[in-house]
Homo-oligomer: 284 residues x 2
């Protein structure tokens, strides 16, 4: 464990009149060095701005969203900061899939707190994205964490949904692209959860949106975009399960099936403007 | 040499109501397999649309622009197709920098026709982008090559300028981001041209924008954006040389120095909308 909270800047690039900045820092929660990127709109030079936390999907780092989503033009107009953390702990000594497969270990933290060895040593992404990272952001940037929203893609869409459902009041709004809505009932989630949380499936419910919906004490509306040409739609993503859970509990869900779109950032870049404007409305 | 012109589709992704499609084909001119990407706006389903050829910079492939420039939203609105070729011949038997350095050989074709061994066997990027590729595009897509413009970045900005200057009437408009305007007088250009074209610098003039400006028979206005925080500005790019050449010949140049911006796609993504609207005006 280290006790420094200092940020080390890795790079900064001007874009859309604001800045994308990348930082390294020592994470207490994850017990390793971590990297995140932040977009600061020009308004942040004079005032505290609202913030959208973006959680990325399997195999991604903090870079994918910043480089490929095309979000900064609209975020700059709206005066919205965007924080993109990495998708898992990293570095020497951090456990990985024994066969190097992309859906477990590095790049695949699934935004849970692992309880099983060897994962429990570093894989505490839930605490990282809901507690440690927002604290760092609040302390180091011109950002008002009281005005925070959350979104994400695929594994990160799952992350955004569970972080919101488990923390009433923490976020003003939530949305997702192609989220894994029922990780307890799809191959990606079953593999990850059995490693991180153990074989007892009752412990999985605390990180499964379709389960959490049933216990929700606050009904923050959910906006989801899902491409109908997504290769992972039927086996992994299964939005109809969330639709059913929301119907049973009268939970407000807007699920938009987008004709012809797939799982890629080409899809995200097409609809990110809608999501940013949606969040901005809730944040103002 | 092969004689097939057939295209093989590698991937297609829906974006902004249009499609990014990637193709392989056998290039006669380059004598190797080549890859290019094309963005087809929705208007191309019903009519022939104008086209922007985009030439990328050192180390890039056809992917960088399509994934990072965020151009498709506006191109879709304008009904503009965009074609992005690779930056050099590729494959087994294609010569590369003997030390594997990024600024010669693979990913660094410099849009010239090489005359020196071993480069002359495959490195004919000038003929490829001005002749073979447009022919393929015209034949295979709903595109009107009579309405074509050209742009590019860095080495590709150089490419766009020389292709336009050397072919009056071929393009309706030309623009560039951070172009190498005087390759005969900067380290990148001197290294590449001495390998591809030989030690006799008189042969370099035919591919040097600052030289070509002097002989221009048609004065197509040039639009250039250049970041003033670009790490390559003073040693490699030297826009003041083009500014001087244009002044001497009364050639119409709009050179916009953009404060705080660097050489990255974050810069391109900020100003690509301006360039697309500029080209669209000339194309309609």
């Amino acid at each position: 464990m280290t006790d420094t909270k200092n940020l080390t800047i890795v790079s900064k690039n001007k874009i859309a009149d604001g800045w994308v900045k990348k930082f390294n820092h020592s994470s207490d929660v994850l017990d390793c060095q971590m990297t995140f990127s932040i977009f600061l709109p020009p308004q942040a030079e004079n005032q505290k701005v609202p913030v959208l936390y973006w959680l990325s999907g399997l195999t991604c780092t903090d870079d994918n969203f910043m480089q490929k989503a095309g979000a900064q033009r609209v975020a700059s107009e709206l005066g919205l900061a965007i924080v993109a953390p990495d998708t898992s702990p990293r570095g020497e000594g951090v456990a990985d899939d024994p066969n190097g497969i992309y859906d477990l270990g590095l790049g695949a933290g699934f935004y849970v707190n692992a309880t099983e060895a060897p994962w429990s040593e570093h894989y505490k992404m839930y605490d990282y994205v809901t507690k440690e990272l927002p604290g760092l952001i609040q302390k180091n940037f011109s950002i008002n964490n009281e005005k925070a929203s959350i979104s994400g893609h695929s594994m990160g869409g799952h992350g955004a949904l569970i972080c919101s459902l488990k923390n009433p009041g923490l976020y003003r709004s939530v949305s997702a692209f192609s989220p894994i809505v029922a990780p307890s009932q799809c191959p990606w989630g079953e593999k990850a959860f059995s490693h991180y949380l153990g074989k007892d499936k009752s412990s999985w419910k605390q990180y499964d949106s379709c389960e959490l919906i049933k216990q929700a004490t606050e009904q923050l509306p959910i906006l989801i975009d899902q491409g109908d040409a997504d290769d992972f739609l039927n086996e992994q993503l299964k939005p109809e399960r969330l639709e059913q859970a929301c119907k049973e509990t009268n939970y407000p869900l807007t699920l938009r099936m987008q004709k012809g779109y797939d799982h890629s950032y080409y899809f995200i870049s097409t609809f990110i403007e809608d999501h940013l404007r949606y969040h901005s409305k809730w944040l103002s």
